[in-house]
């Protein structure tokens, strides 16, 4: 009995079945069409309905675009040219492009300065965003804030130089004393920077030239999409490091630091951004010494940075919480101290987890810069709603202007989103 059973069940394979290609009907475009568009009667009906809907939208939208008038001096002239046909009046863009991009008071002979600053910005951000590029390019990144300030605001050359020297002094003091005692280095660095700045400030006033090489442009003359870009870039680059510090502070064992961070985050998150912007435009002056006039641009930057850093801190806290406890223990057991463990082990992983969240906040923040139009700063939206729509020539041109604004923002935000997806793929080393 046992023998017969073994005879029928025992089996030994001696060779491997070779790989073969799948059947021809199961690949390519026909298969995709059949599976995705025409797999059943219901699906086929939906496909046809969707095609009809797309046709309806395009049939009214495309003529509007294609018939668009690009050359006219007012809305009424546009209507004359169109003579009753549907068509957009893009002439407002060609006639007012400089106002949309730079605001209506920035001197037009100086447009090359913000444009040059924008180009240098691309070079400065490249090594930070794409870390395979040569590290020497970081020199541009370090110098960029000072160059950009000089180009956009103009004024005496000494101002950005003093600002730069102050930062250098602060860094030198910090790197010298910070190793032995972090607090000494940190506060010593800040003190050193302030000493250089205040001495330098006096110096700048003493030797102020009659005619600086770069004509000074006050902050209230900034406007248009340039203002959105400046606010967005400055606030995002400041709020990410501040957010990291707040997130680490919230995890700290030291009760005072923890309390300060928790209160800051919870308070700022609980207040609408518009409120903070009104505080910036009206009330913040009370917190500074009476004679000092802190620039409105700077006040707005401070408020938006605080607002978004609170959000970024919470996003990063999520990343920190997602790391297994073993990573902290492994770093500790190897003898790494707290700054080393954070910088080399914990933050690289936590930030990688937080990328989607940080990008989310960054994109939101960039779009929220349009809120400054309510405190009468003439950013892109402020320009459209104010000087352009209020003018006799162009009142009533809504779709073209706001469509253009949407397009500009979409290009930048979509770019950020694509970059973040590239970054996530590039950093994926866990091979899950």
């Amino acid at each position: 009995m046992a023998d017969t059973h073994a005879h029928s069940v025992a089996f030994v394979r001696k060779d491997v079945i070779p790989e073969s290609p799948p059947p021809a009907r199961q690949t390519g475009v026909p298969k995709w069409l059949r599976e995705n568009l025409f797999s059943s009667w219901a699906n086929t009906a939906l496909t046809i309905a969707a095609a009809w809907a797309i046709y309806m939208v395009l049939s009214s939208f495309l003529p509007w675009i294609l018939n668009g008038v690009w050359d006219a001096s007012s809305l009424s002239q546009c209507r004359e040219i169109l003579a009753g046909k549907t068509g957009a009046c893009f002439a407002v863009l060609t006639e007012r492009w400089h106002q949309l991009l730079f605001g209506f008071t920035y001197p037009s002979e100086l447009y090359w300065r913000p444009v040059l600053a924008f180009i240098i910005m691309l070079v400065a951000f490249a090594p930070v965003l794409f870390f395979d590029l040569p590290r020497q390019m970081l020199v541009v990144t370090v110098l960029f804030p000072f160059i950009a300030f000089y180009l956009i605001w103009g004024g005496p050359l000494l101002t950005p130089i003093i600002a730069f020297l102050g930062c250098v002094a602060g860094y030198l003091v910090f790197s010298h004393y910070g190793k032995a005692n972090f607090a000494t280095g940190f506060f010593g660095g800040i003190a050193a920077a302030f000493i250089v700045w205040s001495i330098g400030g006096l110096l700048v006033d003493l030797v102020r030239p009659e005619e600086p090489w770069m004509t000074p442009v006050p902050s209230r003359d900034l406007g248009g999409f340039m203002l959105n870009m400046m606010l967005g870039v400055t606030c995002v680059s400041l709020s990410v490091p501040l957010g990291i510090v707040l997130a680490l502070g919230r995890q700290s064992d030291m009760p005072l630091i923890k309390a300060v961070c928790v209160i800051f985050i919870e308070f700022i998150r609980g207040v609408p951004l518009i409120t903070l912007l009104f505080v910036a435009s009206v009330m913040l002056a009370y917190f500074f010494p009476p004679e000092s006039t802190v620039d409105l641009f700077l006040r707005v930057v401070i408020m938006i940075t605080m607002f978004s850093s609170a959000y970024i801190a919470e996003v990063i806290r999520g990343g920190l919480a997602a790391l297994p406890k073993g990573q902290y223990e492994a770093a500790d057991s190897l003898g790494l101290d707290y700054p080393q463990a954070m910088r080399l082990i914990i933050l690289p992983q936590a930030l990688k987890i937080s990328i989607p969240g940080i990008v989310n906040v960054a994109v939101g923040l960039f779009k929220d810069t349009t809120l400054v139009s309510v405190i009468s700063m003439f950013d892109l939206i402020g320009m459209i709603r104010g000087p352009i729509l209020a003018s006799t020539e162009w009142s009533g041109v809504y779709w073209e202007l706001f469509g253009f604004a949407a397009l500009l923002f979409f290009v930048v935000c979509y770019g950020i989103s694509q970059y973040s997806q590239w970054l996530e793929r590039r950093l994926a080393t866990d091979h899950r």
Binding site: G326, G335, Q340, Q349, L427
Partner: protein, 255 residues
């Protein structure tokens, strides 16, 4: 096992734990632990789960804080002084149950990170040392891969190499084979055996009783936060004295 016992054990005390007590909240996890480890000793710590084995060895490099008593490692008293803690941690290597490799770094970077940043060794030298130890654990060809691409056994051997790169004088193993498939346990145990044969001072929490017989010169049995029995492996396995030990051994050696 005869071979293992030939290994020299000096009279120098490497770890000196005296009257150590620890509480988690109000739960008394470690009670009056007294343990002297001489240089070159290979100690296996066994016991039922929850008996405080892991907690005890985690106290030695201050991953857990003890509340009473004293721990001295290589003559350095473990106190709340961060300098002492960092000094002890860089002398004491630790291998975890779940490997705890750094997933964002390659195998080689995992091994060179601490020597470069803690010991301030030049990168070239640190890499040479790392390759030496990766060869020793028999995976030099994986040096440029990421931990996620390796099997569990390979990851655990990398974790051992990573600790060895700091040239520790003492190695702690916290259930190093508990998270591994049976086939991979052997490769990790082989690595540990060869480490023991070189005279490394080792404290190992493990359920691998074969390893204990082969390598250990002392087996410690813990229950309910206390050391209830310790002896040479031969005596420990053949002639256990404590009732709890007898029960434990009959359970795990029963089949």
């Amino acid at each position: 096992m005869a071979e293992a016992q030939k290994l020299e054990i000096s009279d120098e005390i490497a770890i000196d734990i005296r009257n150590m007590n620890k509480w988690f909240g109000s739960f008394h996890v470690l009670r009056d632990i007294d343990l002297q480890v001489r240089r070159g000793e290979r100690i296996v710590i066994a016991g039922p789960s929850g008996s405080g084995k892991s907690t005890m060895i985690r106290c030695i490099n201050a991953l857990e804080e003890h509340q009473q008593g004293s721990i001295e490692v290589d003559g350095t008293l473990l106190s709340s002084d961060l300098k002492n803690i960092d000094k002890i941690r860089s002398e004491v290597g630790m291998v975890f149950q779940h490997f705890n490799l750094f997933p964002h770094l390659t195998i080689l970077e995992n091994c060179t990170l601490a020597p470069i940043w803690v010991r301030k060794i030049p990168k070239k030298d640190a890499e040479a040392t790392a390759m030496h130890f990766l060869e020793k654990v028999k995976i030099p060809e994986q040096a440029n891969k990421y931990p996620g691409q390796l099997s569990g056994g390979q990851q655990q051997r990398v974790a051992i190499a990573r600790s060895l790169c700091m040239r520790p004088r003492i190695m702690l193993f916290d259930e190093p084979t508990s998270a591994l498939d049976p086939e991979m346990i052997k490769e990790v145990l082989d690595t540990m055996v060869s480490l023991a044969e070189e005279g490394m001072t080792m404290l190992c929490v493990t359920h691998e009783m074969g390893f204990a017989r082969q390598v250990a010169n002392r087996v410690i049995f813990m229950d309910a936060g206390q050391i209830v029995e310790q002896n040479e492996p031969e005596e420990f396995f053949n002639n256990p004295q404590n009732e709890r030990t007898k029960l434990f051994l009959s359970q795990i050696l029963g089949h």
